[in-house]
Symmetry: C2
Subunit: 307 residues, 2 copies
Amino acid sequence: MSAAAPDWIAVDWGTSRLRAWAMSDAGEVLAERESNRGMGRLEPAEFEPALLAVVDAWLEAGRRLPAVACGMVGARQGWVEAPYQATPCPPVATAIAAPCRDPRLSVHILPGLSQRKPPDVMRGEETQIAGFLRREPGFDGVLCLPGSHTKWAQVSAGEVVSFRTAMTGELFAAISERTVLRLSVGRDGWDGAAFASAVEETLSRPERLASGLFAIRAEGLLEGLAPGAARARLSGLLIGAELAAMRAYWLGRRIGLIGTADLVAVYAEALEAQGVAPERADAADATRAGLALARAALGETGTWPGL
Amino acid sequence: MSAAAPDWIAVDWGTSRLRAWAMSDAGEVLAERESNRGMGRLEPAEFEPALLAVVDAWLEAGRRLPAVACGMVGARQGWVEAPYQATPCPPVATAIAAPCRDPRLSVHILPGLSQRKPPDVMRGEETQIAGFLRREPGFDGVLCLPGSHTKWAQVSAGEVVSFRTAMTGELFAAISERTVLRLSVGRDGWDGAAFASAVEETLSRPERLASGLFAIRAEGLLEGLAPGAARARLSGLLIGAELAAMRAYWLGRRIGLIGTADLVAVYAEALEAQGVAPERADAADATRAGLALARAALGETGTWPGL
């Protein structure tokens, strides 16, 4: 390799995607690659080849490079099960070693978090929470991680005290692609006023979600509602309903939003309309920072304890 | 044909299915056939052949048999557009003639209903409402027609005064088949207690829908929630949220449920837990009765006015 050799590899391995970063011990990103070989479409024996296909160029003969992974790769159907840590607990625990044949690579996988009452689970977001706390060690408040399954986590004294999931992103996809609303909701386009009024509607009257969805279709048929406005309206109805469900989390609390820039912007707009001023963090930055913490806990050298 | 020759044909033609009944003037069903050639997968030129494929055995040379159809076949993308009637109005208006080449058949299509505020539309359910009113001419109350798009219609003095749609059936399908809940929700199986408590939960606290959905998945992972119980719970959360949205429709009113036996039973159970005792009617019976009214309005003989 002509570039600097990495000290370790950070891996975010979800259901549908695999992202890997070649990292220096100083926290620099030396290279980045991704693939669509998410955990959801892999058999147990396919995990190591799928990772090697992405990181092979970063490996050297005679040296075992450590990789630390988070996400669904640690689920029961993943590479190796990293059993849930029960809340309340710190967001990252000791990573679990995954079986690895290639002598140039060692892999450890971080456990997710579980909660008994109400029942809830996360895999991957705990690493982002850890990364956020690395930069804000005294944070006491609520972290919201918008995505397919948006997580709301109450964080205090370095621990996740409780959390809840709203599957808002996945609902948006299922409703806009798999119901009659696909005929009215555009694949892109936006209308800020339509979004804001829809958030307000279901946040103040959450029961309106059930009657408001088909009204998007009807308004498209009868009044030519624009596809971008329909898209913003659907998003607003769902996020308003989510904010109503999560009111106990965000009302009067310090709030941090961790996610991709576009999702963070949408949630920030909804929260700011309620007088909340959220802090913002990038999901990939937070993931790498959390994985770096786990890497430090496992040992500083390329050769890992116990290998 | 060996059986008695039909006097007319009743047709229920929705997005995904086509059902036809050979009818006598006395209201007897002489034969019944259906096909999966719903309006959603047909081009304009394919409607007449699709209908002929189903009803051909009932037709005779030298005689033009009238058919009356309701449903999405009258949409803008249907056989011929039967423009919406605006509420308040009687449920069925004059049917629109569809272009028909075969000299053995004439086809008329019933218009749907539209409402400006809040925006809403129906196609097909207005015919069932008319059929219900034929047997209960003095009905003053609310009719609920559960289905992919459940309709709630306020009916008084023979007119539909207002109506609303909750796309509960389509949401159930999209969520149980196209989100992570597909891994927890069974294709069959039921748990009456899980259904009842879920209805109660979102009916009293509709904001719980947003947080309650993923909890089904988490409870499956952490506590082995049975697939049938998960199915009943998802159905209950959605129907409870619908009842919360439609409270102004059903609270303290005379209620009629029109639908298939299984859906009517589920909605009746949810309403009865609220102290409401709905009357029940079969959807196919109501459809045929409504189509018979429209047929009578067009003329009693096999040869139609204006043909």
